[in-house]
């Protein structure tokens, strides 16, 4: 069975796509430990069974709101084979932020470029091949309200699931050599803890720690020695001092 998670900004048509994909097979439960509703459903495509989980709609993946934390924990800890990022094609500037964060999580990402009808109606043109190349993941145009493109989306989910988890592939976004140097420093420290390597995407965790993300700090405290933690904190402090 393929486990796929749907994610996207609020109001991009994620719920419609989820409903179209899973129909009446939906089951509603809660994400572990919190009362955020978890909707899941099943479908069969190309003879493969796919379980689709609907993650809360978010703009980002910080630790500030329950919804964002739930989405991010699900991706990091449950490791679904495929993550489908629903993107509003008419508003790429805003939507790609989440996509970028997802790319950092070493996931098999499929981007559904939704509202394709509106993109065309507004006279916009999007170079899908180029976008797919820049993001390093498949991009499928869809129209949730009519169901156009959903068969292609299902094909892409099955294809993406067949691929090996893209661990450590070249990052889509290069933060520039100053920041990249810091990221790899922290990554080196993370690599010293097998438990962390096992559990988290290293680059993502390194970036989160550099951001001073509270949850990332808390969740990793047990796996890192105090000297390692201190080293990470000193890297951050040195940088902050340099900025000021």
């Amino acid at each position: 069975m393929i486990r796929a998670a749907l994610i996207g900004n609020p109001n991009v048509g994620k719920t419609e796509i989820f409903n179209r994909l899973t129909g009446l097979s939906q089951k509603v439960g809660n994400f572990p430990g919190v009362t955020v509703e978890k909707k899941a459903g099943r479908l069969v495509h190309q003879g493969r069974e796919i379980e689709v989980v609907d993650l809360p709609g978010t703009y980002s993946l910080t630790a500030h709101s329950v919804d964002e934390l739930v989405a991010r924990d699900y991706i990091v800890l449950e490791r679904p084979e495929v993550i489908v990022d629903i993107v509003d094609g008419t508003n790429l500037e805003r939507n790609l932020y989440l996509t970028l964060l997802l790319l950092e999580m070493d996931a098999n990402l499929v981007v559904a470029l939704n509202r394709w009808d509106m993109v065309k109606a507004r006279g916009m043109e999007i170079d899908i091949e180029k976008l797919s190349e820049l993001l390093g993941c498949p991009v499928v145009p869809t129209v949730a309200i009519t169901g156009d493109g959903l068969e292609d989306l299902k094909d892409s989910i099955v294809d993406a699931a067949g691929q090996k988890r893209a661990k450590g592939q070249d990052a889509a976004l290069n933060y520039g050599c100053d920041i990249e140097r810091l990221i790899s420093k922290v990554e080196d420290l993370i690599r010293k803890s097998p438990a962390l390597v096992e559990k988290y995407p290293q680059r993502w965790l390194a970036i989160k720690m550099l951001e001073g993300d509270e949850m990332a700090m808390e969740q990793t405290r047990a796996c890192l020695s105090s000297s390692q933690l201190a080293e990470i904190l000193s890297i951050i402090e040195a940088v902050e001092a340099a900025i000021k």
């Binding site: 609020p10 109001n11 719920t15 419609e16 409903n19 939906q26 509603v28 009362t35 955020v36 509703e37 909707k39 500030h64 709101s65 329950v66 919804d67 790429l92 500037e93 805003r94 790609l96 932020y97 970028l100 964060l101 509202r115 509106m118 109606a121 507004r122 006279g123 916009m124 043109e125 999007i126 170079d127 899908i128 180029k130 976008l131 820049l134 993001l135 309200i145 889509a172 976004l173 933060y175 520039g176 100053d178 920041i179 810091l182 970036i207 550099l210 951001e211 001073g212 951050i236 940088v239 902050e240 340099a242 900025i243």
Partner: protein, 434 residues
């Protein structure tokens, strides 16, 4: 390091946006010129400076009429089905104890709650349609300025609206608010929005005491009282517990869309499910307990015939003094006590205590002279304000992940209920009402 960044994380964010800008630049060609869409057209009307709020109120009114007026015959149908079931059980089961248990406890209890399925589902359906069509975000937008002045966040508006249906999904809907302070205020005041579970109590009391021509006014007044209290409490909380300005309101207005029937129904179902679950569990057990207490001791009550001799009457008399200043008797005390479980149970309890069918309940209230119009209205206000119900308290506990806040909600609302009811009674008596 980048010169604009204040710290490392904003430097990271900045690099991401730079990357996005260049990616969008190289892949997207914007259409030529300004494009005027249907969404723009509709927003000219629905977000109009003068018409925005009146149109919103019109839509709100339409929604409530749809939920409460159109669902009436379906309520009657459900009532009939349960009456028939009850009558059939009384005939089919010869053992009086078992017959009383099944017909009064199980069927009567479930029936008095399930009659609210049509209006509640109607309300949720209307809300789903408004949400799917894209109007709900506009409603929040239109109301934002008004809400801001009350110290509330524009986004707290949708949860409060949902509260008219049921406070449980309303509290859950506060999750979408990203400022913790705004969220807490909304969560604490939302139980003051009169949910549909309280409506049957109003309908019963107002219908019996105010007559057909003034009952509507009385019910409307209680709803208005709830809204006013919610606003007042929001202002108080904003100035005491959660100091500060509401966080700025950033809301992306989605494009309008023709709502899809199946997704609207799915949406309605996922909210309404909560109510059915509540009816099947909490309310069901509460009515069973009320029944047990009302027929025991079995001998003394001669099989539930003489309620005055039952345990429930004993409990009622024990807590009656608390409510005596308001002019309520022991039955009101018991009804309010069990109403803690769920406010629908207030009506159900009266049903069991007065031994009357739902329809004859109002007449029974009048003939026994349990309330005057003043004490009756005060009772309605009390039901509105005091602790919402177990499910709401539980939801606040879950959502805040603590027992402190639900305990606080319980205490402040009960205190508020006593204060407001006391004021109503005092003012009424000063004005010469009994």
């Amino acid at each position: 390091m980048s010169e604009y960044a204040e710290n490392l994380s904003s430097a990271l964010v900045q690099r991401r946006y730079e990357w996005i800008a260049s990616t969008v630049d190289s892949t997207v060609k914007k259409g030529s010129g300004e494009i005027f869409t249907l969404t723009d057209m509709l927003d000219q009307v629905f977000l109009d400076k003068h018409l925005g709020i009146p149109i919103f109120l019109t839509i709100l009114w339409t929604m409530f009429q749809f939920a409460f007026a159109v669902s009436e015959p379906f309520v009657v149908i459900i009532e009939r089905v349960f009456e028939m079931l009850g009558a059939w059980v009384n005939q089919a089961i010869s053992d009086p104890y078992l017959a009383s248990f099944v017909s009064v406890g199980v069927i009567g209890g479930l029936g008095s709650v399930l009659v609210f399925v049509p209006p509640i589902f109607g309300l949720f359906l209307a809300l789903s349609i408004l949400e799917d069509s894209g109007y709900m975000a506009r409603a929040a937008f239109v109301m934002d300025r008004f809400m801001y002045r009350l110290g509330l966040h524009g986004r707290s508006f949708i949860p409060l609206m949902i509260g008219f249906g049921c406070n449980v999904p309303a509290i859950m809907a506060t999750r979408s608010m990203d400022s913790e302070k705004d969220r807490m205020i909304t969560m604490l005041i939302s139980p003051l929005i009169s949910c549909s579970a309280r409506l049957p109590v109003y309908v019963l009391i107002a219908g019996a005491l105010f007559g057909a021509s003034y009952a509507g006014t009385a019910v409307f007044a209680v709803y208005a009282l709830g809204i006013v209290l919610a606003v007042v409490m929001a202002l108080i909380f904003r100035r005491t517990l959660f100091k500060g300005e509401p966080s700025p309101f950033v809301l992306e207005l989605p494009t309008y869309a023709v709502p899809d029937a199946s997704s609207a129904i799915l949406h309605m179902w996922s909210r309404g499910r909560m109510f059915l679950k509540k009816a099947g569990t909490i309310i069901f057990w509460a009515t069973i307990i009320v029944w047990l207490l009302s027929v025991h001791p079995w001998e003394a009550t001669s099989g539930g015939q003489v309620i005055a001799e039952s345990y429930i009457a004993w409990i009622g008399h024990a807590i009656e003094p608390v409510f005596q200043p308001f002019g309520w008797d022991w039955m009101a005390a018991v009804a309010l006590l069990f109403g803690l479980v769920a406010k629908e149970v207030v009506v159900g309890t009266y049903g069991i205590l007065l031994g009357a069918e739902e329809a004859g309940l109002g007449d029974a209230l009048v003939s026994q002279g349990l309330f005057t119009p003043l004490t009756g209205f005060a009772f309605m206000a009390f039901v509105l304000i005091y602790v919402p119900c177990v499910a709401v308290i539980g939801t606040i506990a879950k959502e805040t992940n603590s027992w402190r806040w639900p305990a606080f909600a319980l205490v402040y609302q009960t205190a508020l209920a006593f204060i407001v009811t006391g004021v109503i009674i005092a003012v009424g008596r000063l004005a010469g009402l009994s």
